[in-house]
């Protein structure tokens, strides 16, 4: 096994024992990038070439020189007997929605294509201070608006290492693809409706949406400020716990980052799960989507392979002493997407008003008669279709004559979704759950171009993940098998506020119990070429 295919935990152990060095680990990852990446996303690319269809395209930009300096510093510390940090020498990628001082931070949009950030986001600086080595910025849906990474202005968009004709998911598609292909060992992503968990499921890696406020959003370009959560993607649950340990915690730069102490996520990871109560809800075993022709809602059961993976996971957890509680009602789950259409768009419209060509970013080169014309041309030329759609929707549903009908009603639905979780997690209630076990996604990775352009159908890819964003609760997605086409299936654990340690412990228990299963021997198709 090559160094770039090891877990972060293994790499840190080897480096600390002097059995390898950070520079060698970095070179292994860079070698893998050279082999599988292809061209990075760019504004000038045309349609993908036949060669492009055989590569991953996870990145928009790489920082090789800075990464080498960081790796050399880790090795210097080891030699000098200094503490190299919890993530010593671990190469990580960063979704290009995070500001990193001195680097292009584009949000995968033309309107920020030339923006060089003057500061570094808190989660990134915490990773770097812990000795991790920052490789570069991964590609994503433009301004994180999407569930496939196809809407990026930087083409070619990322592809799924398990099957290069499939999407990696989104919006953290580049991040998930980079971890799955060995082009990074860890990645920092964001999750607003499932944008860590869904691509993690599609790409066969682990991803966590922390509790809202668990990880600082300082330096993260905002989509929907009441829903956005930075979080980790990694090869396994232990790596995810390790990264959570580093990035979590209060931050004076972010007034929504809670002061609640960060527990020892790693210390309790291998603890017993005996007696923990895990619920299964019928509302998460059916999927809803609008008929593309009539617009009417269609409801149908989950694909068999996905529901079977969840049930099998429940069995394995039960064998280790967890109690499985069936038929847990979550009746307001179905309103997650409609409410998200409103709340997220209102917040996005507000957050994207700052992109006007005045202070930073793209400004139209065309002749203009006044500043208002400059705004119109700049924003018209700089934004892609998906940001424009969200801004226009947000303005419409928050207009004075519609606000009560749409926005305020959505906020109440959000409260009802939250109440579903409060009821099942109430320690004095009927269910007293420690976690709810669900599938992560209604399907496995869909083909490139199959859904893109249909904004409603695309959003429904998040129907099983978005309730956690409305409620603010944490969610962990992890691989749980492959479907008939060899595509990864993800299962999801949802828990009460700040229950990440429990979710990680449950996830680890499932991971260890399924360690010998045949599907775990499979590797992404790209790596077997």
């Amino acid at each position: 096994m090559e160094l770039c295919d090891l877990t972060a935990y293994e790499i840190v152990a080897l480096i600390r024992r002097n059995e390898t060095c950070a520079v060698d680990v970095l070179e292994s990852v860079l070698c893998r990038i050279e082999k599988v990446e292809g061209c990075h996303g760019s504004l000038e690319a045309g349609l993908p070439s036949p060669q492009d269809r055989l590569k991953v395209h996870a990145y928009i930009s790489l920082n090789k020189e800075k990464a080498r300096l960081q790796a050399e510093e880790v090795d210097r510390k080891i030699t000098a007997g200094e503490n190299p940090g919890l993530l010593a020498g671990v190469p990580f990628s960063v979704k290009d929605i995070f500001c990193v001082d001195g680097t292009l931070t584009t949000a995968a949009s033309r309107i920020l294509a030339n923006f060089v950030s003057p500061y570094t986001a808190t989660p990134v600086s915490r990773m770097e201070n812990a000795g991790a080595v920052m490789l570069g910025k991964t590609n994503l849906d433009e301004f994180v608006f999407g569930s496939s990474s196809e809407s990026s202005a930087f083409q070619p968009s990322p592809r799924n290492p398990w099957n290069l004709d499939r999407v990696p998911g989104g919006s953290s598609g580049g991040s998930a693809a980079s971890v799955a292909s060995g082009e990074a060992v860890l990645s920092l992503g964001t999750d607003t409706a499932g944008s860590i968990r869904q691509p993690a499921a599609f790409c066969g890696v682990v991803g966590m949406k922390p509790t809202y406020g668990r990880v600082s959003r300082y330096g993260m370009i905002a989509f929907a400020s009441s829903l956005d959560c930075p979080g980790p993607l990694g090869r396994d649950v232990r790596d995810t716990a390790l990264m959570m340990q580093v990035i979590s915690g209060a931050d004076p730069h972010d007034s929504t980052a809670v002061t609640k102490p960060v527990p020892d996520f790693l210390g309790g990871l291998d603890g017993s799960i005996r007696g923990l109560r895990i619920g299964l809800s019928p509302d998460y075993f059916q999927i809803t989507f609008p008929d593309p022709q009539s617009g009417e809602y269609i409801q149908q059961p989950l694909p068999g392979a996905i529901s079977e993976s969840v049930r099998h996971a429940a069995k394995l957890l039960a064998l280790q002493g967890a109690e499985i509680i069936e038929d847990v009602p979550m009746p307001n789950t179905r309103y997650g997407i409609p409410a998200f259409f409103v709340i997220s768009r209102v917040e996005a419209a507000s957050n994207l008003h700052r992109y006007d060509g005045v202070k930073f970013g793209y400004r139209t080169p065309q002749e203009v008669s006044d500043v208002r014309q400059m705004y119109k041309k700049t924003r018209g030329e700089g934004f892609g279709l998906q940001p424009k759609l969200r801004i226009l929707m947000g303005m419409y549903v928050s207009a004075a004559q519609y606000s009560a009908q749409y926005y305020q009603r959505s906020l109440k639905l959000r409260a009802m979704i939250r109440l579903d979780f409060d009821r099942i997690f109430d320690p004095a209630g009927k269910y007293r759950l420690d976690a709810l076990l669900t599938p992560t996604t209604p399907t496995t990775a869909f083909p490139i171009n199959a859904v893109y352009g249909d904004s409603v159908l695309m959003q429904y890819a998040d129907q099983l993940t978005v309730p956690a964003n409305h409620a603010g609760i944490p969610g962990l997605s992890q691989p749980a098998g492959l479907d008939q086409e060899g595509l990864p299936i993800g299962i999801q654990l949802l828990g009460p506020d700040f229950s990440e340690a429990t979710l990680l412990r449950l996830g680890r228990a499932y991971e260890m119990a399924s360690a010998g299963e045949d599907w775990r021997k499979s590797i992404p198709g790209l790596l077997s070429i």
Partner: protein, 106 residues
């Protein structure tokens, strides 16, 4: 498809959003907006108890987990030059933009 947003409203929204759109973009955006409105309208039929309050956050911020208000202390930044470097057009530390549109008042 049941349309809700008419062309006139759409044009007004585009003006408020400060966009210029091609015909193809406008057609796509209006169509998708109306598809989304049809989904959103489903919410009108959902019975909601009067006791349900508006909530803008999922989690509850108690004093125990909320950071206090930052001290009102000036902290000089050494980033002014970096920030000014990002400005598309600047002079002497000022950001240059075209003239603000004027309207003659009667």
């Amino acid at each position: 498809m049941r349309e809700s947003i008419d062309k006139e409203t759409f044009i007004h929204l585009v003006d408020l959003a400060a966009f210029e759109l091609s015909t193809e973009e406008a057609d796509y955006l209006l169509r998708e907006m109306n598809k989304q409105i049809n989904i959103i309208k489903e919410m009108a039929a959902v019975p909601i108890d009067e006791e349900i309050l508006l909530t803008t956050h999922g989690i509850t911020y108690t004093p125990e987990i909320s950071p206090g208000i930052r001290p009102d202390e000036c902290q000089p930044s050494d980033k002014a030059a970096n920030i000014l470097q990002q400005v598309p057009q600047s002079r002497d530390g000022y950001m240059i933009v075209p003239e603000t549109p004027h309207t003659e008042l009667e």
